[in-house]
């Protein structure tokens, strides 16, 4: 029987092309009618927006600025053919480069002559030609001239391993061990090569590329898990390996650019939460739990990064601001997920929320402290002064803001029960004169985003007061964060 996504695609195309009407399409697939009809109606209702163009004046102005800017902006450089085949040999020894190249070509051609290498490319673990495939990869790594080339190759081969894991898992899960081992090996090798790189700018570039690849691998696994509800364990395992690798790479990045590491980490946390939300909406609660565990891993790393930044006083205030801003949203997302899942699956959400709160507290304490110091207040003796609250478990909650009203009574554990205005939302009971969530975070100071660091918009929509400002919670329907009205 044809899958609904294919039927949907055919119907949309046919209707848009005038080859069929909606009712004709529905008649073609009577058994799918109930599922198909609302989706088709929605799809056909999505209209292209009107052709709004840039105002001519602005278009020309942007063009002039753009051309002016790119005159002084260099494009990313790619190595020339001669550089690519340098094999690490300096240009002065050009004859040696040629000699090595000739040898490599001879070896390569002789291997290709049998067609074995070519034929082996589609082989899978357990196939007779699979060792030829991995052997060819080893040979390519051997002749790769630079660390960068080796990292890129290892990442490319890691992608191949993931595809193999998926393909072999549908045939014989037991044989996927070899591919899983290979995947882990490629990632380890790439990381070792990155570590060996002494030039910081090259190292950062390699980390950027490696993290992008690993992220794609995570998403690839996510997709497979989503499309095959009875997904294979090897893919799940590969997903776990990718997550661990991303954590390792982020730790490396934090040593060189702690701010960017914090930003990327927060981005991944958001990505994991969004995914958990989708899983919860689709009643895939087990997968939701797995994704929340991943979220917790990144949350933990976020705390470590923040702690390092605070200890070394390295971009700590920027990271604190960013974290507060993001974690506020994440708590809302967790609450939303919490409300949509059955009781038995809520425990992990609670744990995630606890960890997020802990992270937020760590960021808020220092941030509040800095704000207090800046205002010359007398509260330096204790970060918690006036802002602490006691949760139902009797533990002090130094953040003491009732978490922006996110928590409210929706999640029963560790709800703050203070009595001051602070930041409590309409449902959460906030306490303490802490900084309103979202208050005092000057978007103009928002550091550049992780990808394309030159892309900072340079402006924002900041509202509210600086640290210590008091805002009043608003109803969620206002679509605004509490504290936004702070003066």
């Amino acid at each position: 029987m044809e899958k609904i996504e294919n039927i949907l695609n055919i119907c949309i195309k046919d209707i848009k092309a005038g080859k069929a009407t909606l009712s004709e399409c529905l008649e073609r697939y009577p058994s799918k009618r109930n599922d198909l009809e609302p989706l088709l109606k929605l799809a056909l209702n999505i209209e292209k927006p009107p052709a709004i163009n840039l105002d001519d004046h602005y278009k020309q102005a942007i063009r002039s600025r753009l051309l002016q800017q790119i005159q002084t902006t260099s494009q990313s450089k790619f190595k020339s053919i001669t550089d690519r085949f340098s094999f690490g040999i300096p240009p002065q020894l050009a004859w040696a480069r040629v000699a090595v190249l000739v040898v490599v070509i001879i070896i390569f051609v002789s291997m290709m002559a049998g067609g074995t290498v070519y034929a082996s490319q589609d082989s899978l673990p357990g196939d007779m030609l699979y060792p030829v495939k991995t052997g060819t990869e080893d040979a390519r790594l051997l002749i790769a001239g630079s660390n960068s080339a080796k990292v890129d190759l290892n990442m490319k081969f890691a992608n191949t391993r993931i595809i193999e894991i998926n393909e072999i898992a549908t045939r014989d899960e037991n044989k996927s061990d070899l591919a899983l081992e290979g995947y882990r090996g490629n990632l380890d090798a790439a990381r070792r090569q990155i570590l060996k790189t002494s030039d910081t700018s090259v190292l950062l570039g390699l980390l950027d590329r490696a993290m992008e690849q690993v992220h794609k691998q995570m998403i690839f696994c996510d997709d497979i898990i989503d499309t095959n509800p009875a997904f294979s364990m090897p893919i799940k395992e590969a997903n776990g390996i990718a997550v661990n690798e991303q954590l390792e790479l982020l730790k490396m990045l934090a040593q060189h650019d702690i701010l960017q590491a914090a930003q990327i980490n927060l981005g991944i946390m958001q990505n994991r939460l969004q995914r958990a939300g989708v899983q919860a909406d689709s009643n895939q609660y087990q997968t939701m739990q797995d994704v929340l565990l991943q979220y917790q891993q990144f949350n933990q790393l976020g705390e470590q990064i923040l702690q390092s930044a605070q200890t070394a006083n390295n971009n700590s205030s920027e990271i604190e601001q960013l974290s507060l801003q993001a974690l506020d949203v994440y708590l809302e997302m967790l609450n939303s997920i919490y409300q949509h899942v059955p009781q038995e699956y809520r425990k992990n959400i609670e744990v995630s929320r606890q960890m997020t709160l802990q992270f937020e507290t760590q960021a808020r304490n220092r941030y509040q402290h800095q704000g207090d110091s800046a205002q010359g207040s007398n509260t330096q003796s204790s970060d918690n002064s006036g802002g602490s609250a006691t949760g139902p478990d009797g533990q002090s909650n130094p953040a003491g803001q009732g978490n922006n009203g996110n928590t409210g009574s929706e999640i029963p554990v560790s709800q703050s029960t203070g009595d001051s205005t602070g930041n409590g939302g309409p449902e959460g009971s906030g306490s303490g004169p802490g900084p309103g969530s979202g208050d005092g975070i000057d978007p103009t100071a928002t550091p550049e985003p992780p990808q394309g660091s030159e892309d900072s918009p340079g402006k924002g929509t900041g509202e509210g007061s600086g640290p210590g400002g008091t805002g009043e919670g608003q109803t969620p329907s206002d679509g605004k964060k509490s504290g936004a009205a702070g003066s």
Binding site: N9, L54, P449, D455, G479
Partner: protein, 190 residues
């Protein structure tokens, strides 16, 4: 100057040639690419941000980023516009990250059509704003696919190529996205 009256294949060849020059560092060629695509990119960004000023700034940033990354584009086989859209998509995600709240979802974009009666226009306007909000609430990957397919009119094969996925993946994503949108619209209507 670029001739917009050529047939599609000639147009593609001409664009390919301009892209090649731009990738080689020809700033004037890049200026031509801007002339051709600035409105499309601006419209796409405006649809997602509903803020004229931000959309202008982001459009400029997308082109600067494209200029820097252009040599990489030579190695891909995706349509140039699709490639620009992925840059826009990533830039918009960063933009959302810097936003304090989701207020942009409540902003409305301008839908003007002087050929229809005010009543019909108002109803259509309302529907399209609801749909737009539902699209913007989708997970990132679904949002990108829906926008590229339904709003920008890309073929599934082109989207698959841009996003490095199979056409089958794209069909699955669209199915899931439409289901999700129904849920969102259902909740909004409650």
């Amino acid at each position: 100057m670029f001739n917009t009256n050529n047939s599609d294949s000639n147009l593609n060849l001409e664009i390919e040639s301009i892209v090649k020059s731009a990738a080689g560092g020809d700033t004037e060629a890049f200026g031509h690419l801007y002339d051709i695509y600035a409105d499309r990119i601006y419209r796409h960004i405006y649809y997602r941000t509903s803020n004229t000023e931000d959309a202008r700034d982001l459009t400029q940033e997308v082109f600067i980023k494209a200029w820097k990354a252009l040599p990489k584009y030579k190695r891909t086989k995706t349509p140039f516009l699709g490639w620009l859209f992925t840059i826009s998509h990533n830039r918009i995600i960063d933009y959302y990250r810097t936003k304090k709240d989701n207020a942009y979802l409540n902003d409305e974009i301008i839908f003007e059509n002087h050929e229809k009666s005010p009543e019909i226009l108002a109803e259509e306007h309302f529907t399209q704003q609801q749909i737009r909000r539902a699209i913007l609430k989708l997970p990132e990957d679904q949002q990108q696919v829906i926008l590229m397919s339904f709003i920008e009119g890309f073929e599934y094969s082109e989207i698959a190529s841009v996003l490095n996925k199979t056409e089958g993946n794209i069909r699955v994503i669209i199915h899931r996205a439409l289901k999700k949108m129904r849920e969102i619209l259902g909740r909004a209507g409650e």
